[in-house]
Amino acid sequence: MELLPFFEWAETTFLGYIGKTYGGVYATFGQSLHLMALAVLGGSVLVADLRLLNVIMKDVPSEIVTEQAHKWFRIALVMIISTGIFMAAAVAQRMYHNDFFWAKMSALLVGIIFVFAIKRPLLKGSHADLNPIVIKMVASASILVWFSVAATGRWIGFSG
């Protein structure tokens, strides 16, 4: 499947035009909001996963912590993807040729599938019924995948 035409088209859309033409809008509504969403996303990932790893809030039931963190994870994810689409649209053809962009998209896809298809269903019930090693593996994988999404994102800007 040839994706380049899609990236060429993205730059011609209204969103791509705004981001390309107005540097100030791109930097504040694109980049800065993206980073604020990153704070909330990172917070919700770490609060939940460090709790599952028994590092923080050991005196608060992990079911409550993960449930609440997930609520904010969803909000942050919507915000971070929307601002991400806005940013990518403005420089879409450059993104198409950027290795870190594709690494980030792959990690993002894996992260979303992992959270919604595996982690959430697993943690729905009582955590005491689950094998503690599996819980810790899931928490470590979640931290790793989201930090990888963020780090590869920063490296898009450093490479070409």
């Binding site: 689950l130 503690p132 090693i133 599996v134 593996m137 899931v138 994988a141 790793l144 990888s148």
Partner: protein, 45 residues
């Protein structure tokens, strides 16, 4: 705390997926860092 001996199917899937993610992430960043070391060596030659 008693640890169950048998893993449920959901736990097995989660363990495999989490393991695959952990290994891939470590391999990816390991590969990136090795690339950087080679680059640094070249810069000093």
């Amino acid at each position: 705390m008693t640890v169950k001996k048998e893993l449920g199917i959901q736990e097995k899937i989660a363990a495999v997926a989490a393991g695959a993610i952990i290994i891939s992430a470590l391999m990816y960043w390991g590969y990136q860092f090795v690339g950087m070391l080679e680059f640094l060596e070249m810069a000093y030659e």
